[in-house]
Symmetry: C2
Subunit: 337 residues, 2 copies
């Protein structure tokens, strides 16, 4: 593929990303200052189509990029710094807000990413099994409410409350603190399995009624730790792709299925940024969309994965530039602590 073809392909994609309308040869010449006539461009477009980088919606329509075209764009033509000074400042200001909980950080990053790109974003924290329990603390509220707090090494703090029908003594709380810390500290954050449950039950001399709900709630917390954030689902309604209400509904339904979302975010391979264009998505429901995911981390600490879901004609340059910038800034901020 020669330089002129690349330039034209890039122009077609840039234009189509903006307008969502098939791009004509004359529009390219006018808007992209090409020093050739529309006829020449037409010849090139025909060849690009023959090689599979472009498509047409009907015989006499302008061109739209094919998935192969987008893939070439992402691999070869992408601008890595497609981000304005204003956007940088905005990101900085958002990230500057004092963040106490690791979950809030993910939330802020997700929201900001959605605000700047205008696409729908999803996020998931580090996998529970990969976090280690740093502390587990029991706190008595009043006389019949027990709060359980779990802190992990990646800074996740999760708590839950259990109501009892009878008073809990401070001594009991001490025993619980000692026992659970002895058994769970340093262990991965995963559900309490049967053997462990039996061990704990055997160890504790008093009522099973106190322990049972604790184990139940801890297991619930662990499950919840893999929760997904979703941001800007509405934004997609403004896309011309969703002129058809049918499509819009489908899209919303996909987002609603946590399982699907989880799989997508998890599937990212070794690379920090992964781009799946249309058919490259495993999930049938996403064949008409593109997904970009990135894992963010500080040093070797995994902080989870953020993903963007948008139309295939997504602004890949902007999305990836912004992702990289956010990722960089999170790292800088965190290192300062």
């Amino acid at each position: 593929m020669d330089e002129r073809k690349k330039k034209i392909l890039q122009a077609v994609i840039d234009e189509y990303v903006n307008t969502a309308e098939p791009v004509s040869s004359s529009a390219l010449v006018e808007k992209y200052h090409l020093d050739y006539s529309s006829a020449t461009v037409r010849n090139e477009l025909a060849e690009l189509e023959k090689s599979g980088y472009l498509d047409k919606t009907h015989t006499s329509s302008g061109r739209i990029p094919s998935e192969k075209g987008y893939r070439f764009y992402v691999d070869e033509l992408i601008k890595e710094d497609d981000i304005s000074l204003e956007e940088m400042k905005y990101i900085q200001s958002k990230l500057d807000a004092k963040v106490n909980e690791i979950e809030d950080l993910a939330k802020i990053a997700t929201t900001t990413l959605s605000e700047i790109t205008h696409y729908t974003t999803v996020a998931i924290g580090p996998k529970p099994e990969r976090q280690l329990i740093e502390e587990i603390k029991f706190v008595l509220l009043g006389t019949r409410m027990l709060m359980v707090v779990i802190v992990t090494d990646s800074g996740l703090v999760k708590e839950t409350i259990i109501k009892y029908d009878e008073d809990i003594t401070q001594t009991q709380v001490e025993t619980l603190n000692n026992l659970f810390n002895a058994k769970l500290k340093g262990k991965p954050l995963s559900k309490i399995d049967k053997p462990m449950e039996e061990y704990i039950l055997a160890e504790i001399t008093y009522s099973v009624d106190v322990i049972k709900p604790i184990i139940e709630q801890i297991n619930r917390i662990v499950e919840e730790a893999g929760t997904i954030y979703l941001e800007g689902a509405n934004k997609s309604f403004d896309l011309p792709e969703f002129k058809s209400l049918e499509l819009a509904k489908n899209f919303v339904n996909v987002l609603d299925e946590k399982e699907v979302m989880l799989d997508i975010l998890d599937s990212g391979v070794a690379k920090d940024i992964n781009v799946y264009i249309g058919d490259e998505n495993d999930k049938e429901e996403l064949k008409d969309f593109s997904v970009v995911t990135f894992k963010h981390s500080v040093g070797d600490k995994d902080l989870g994965t953020i993903g963007i879901i948008g139309p295939k004609r997504m602004n890949y340059s902007k999305v990836i530039s912004v992702m990289k910038y956010i990722s960089k800034k999170i790292n800088e901020n965190k290192k300062g602590e």
Copy 2:
């Protein structure tokens, strides 16, 4: 209004609620076993229209209920037990789940209501200012993380975490516990104002840096305590009213505006169930919708308000029946505790 007119009006509304299509005289005769010819029904329909209970979309169309018609239906014709045995069982099973936090109860009620009625539901807890602080507790996690827990008399538990750059001692935690409990226990859950802040700062001998973030976070918690739950926003897309994407977008936007939602839920007057039909809504954005709200409580304890937002042709009978049933069950469950 004579009995036959009532019967016909009821039939028109029931039919329109189901089909969302203008109702014809012949359809009424066929489906509702009226012992009159379509011509007679037509005469009655004409009179009902003249009195303002019915409308037409164009001269030769069938009838649709007017807002006055819906209002009459709600006031006079409603079936108070429009709920099936299956639905009762489903509600019971949902509410049976052990609920430790008052907020979870609101969440469950909201979700269940949305699932059964297929409309969008919103909920808000009791107003923060009307709750009294029962306990405020400081808990040290590790050496540099401080957790603040606030428990109110209506059972709300809110917590937050503050990270410090230096170690916090157990003695400091004790001082904090004593001071804040002495000053705030029994007081309404509201933001810490300037005089109180200054008093606290004067009282504490050590670093302002420790106190400032605590006050900040407590104020954030209080603000958050008035949070809204939203459930089943997607469901509305299935309504034929939303054939136009424009309308659907507007609807989603209304839901997004927390202020509007808050006002609506707050505006409920003394009655436990309030119905606002179309123009009866204060908010311009809701003139095309109907809103039903109900306050739920146990004894004299306010538990907040739940609202349903749907098309004017909402199934008022079902909505109100289900609301009453849920309210009743919550009361029974809670009393048992």
